[in-house]
Subunit: 139 residues, 4 copies
């Protein structure tokens, strides 16, 4: 872990599993974990004042996932109440690496290591992360 | 409105609009309102003790939408916080008709009139609605 | 049916059911029919030279669904090969009404009557339908 | 690459980008690449006679993704026609590793390295891959 990253309490966001999230195998469809992980990242950003819609409209910045290493550990099912965590791993100039987990009770259901880059909306070129994000995840 | 249906306060459930819900037109993709409406129905059922996963496993019953009349009134956008309502309109032996709205603040974004039938999971044949549902929406 | 609408052969588009389309009830999730219906409408527009991406970029026009009356007739399942039809019902100045069906072999699985309006992308105000669409569906 | 894997021509499957696949950033939503990759895997299995619905019903076997390393290289947009490839990398007793790419013309849009395991549907325990899959991807 990058030394400048503060050992903050992990951010967690609840996600209920609905019919829309499941497939005919009786479990959560694998692509939908990427939706759950993004909901938690969005709420994590909002928790320190970053609203992505405003960021796009006012500053022309968007966050884009560059890379994701996903592990599907065990199945989740209809009506399960999952907890999705967000933990910063490394802060670079134009991206941040995060670790996220989906848990059901004490058990890890899925996890991801994910690289989120900041881009200019028009050019899709990398730009420095917003200062508020930088300050919020470093001491 | 069917006389046996109690003029209960409308049930409402909050839904936040995330990237997954939007399309390149900059608004919520039209099919996703059916997901929002189902989330609210699921929580409305849960509010009087009906858990759909349990109902399927223990009693072999599922709820299936037979018919939906959807109106898309105005667009919703990223980060909007919608309120999804559920209101029973008519209670029949094997189905219930519901009115639902998606609101953003004071404005209606979309609405639906929907018929939900109760089926035996194996045969997909209509069966009477569970008594607890019947009691919960009638006086 | 509106007299100016030509009794053209119905347009049909094949859609295979994948895991992503199903739910834990073992059938196609109800909201996903709206995706199937839109794929067929997009290919129907493309069949007479209308590309929606180009229409938005070059003329600032988008098509938006205003109203949909959906009937879910029987379940479709994993690996089913559906045929989605498009049939114009009524051509107005700023919208067109269509009938669409999802069929699996000879059986109707779902059907919709749908009103698609043409809007200016910026203002979301109704504008006349493109001339090429008008010509393509009238004699 | 595992020596027993035959240098077969890569399997490719076309995927058109529709409104349902995009988000308000104007590009394909990141989770949807996992849907595209699965459609191509399903058709790749079908190309040598493996029907997943039949496999589940007749032999109680399902394929489950255990791990995926995703790279999002450049954005794809509405109406793009993507080509999704499948290439076996390693064949083990109870899983297969695959490389997949999403290409738009000559350009790679996204790629994944993915581990697909074969499980007994009831127990979710690993079982040997079906013989027909084994034969199809080895010399």
């Amino acid at each position: 872990m990058n030394p400048e990253v503060r050992p903050a309490p992990r951010f967690a966001w609840p996600v209920r599993v609905y019919y829309e999230d499941t497939d005919t195998g009786g479990v959560v469809y694998y692509a939908n974990y990427l939706k759950f992980f993004e909901r938690a990242r969005t709420e994590w950003l909002r928790s320190f004042g970053l609203n992505q819609d405003k960021l796009a409209r006012e500053e022309g910045l968007i966050f884009v996932v560059r890379r994701a290493l996903l592990d599907f550990v065990r199945p989740a099912r209809l009506d399960d109440l999952l907890e999705i965590t967000v933990e910063p791993l490394k802060l670079a100039h134009v991206y941040v690496d995060l670790a996220q987990e989906a848990r059901c009770g004490a058990q890890v259901v899925a996890r991801v290591q994910i690289r989120v880059a900041c881009l200019a909306q028009r050019s899709f070129k990398p730009v420095p992360l917003p200062q508020s994000l930088r300050e919020s995840i470093t001491t």
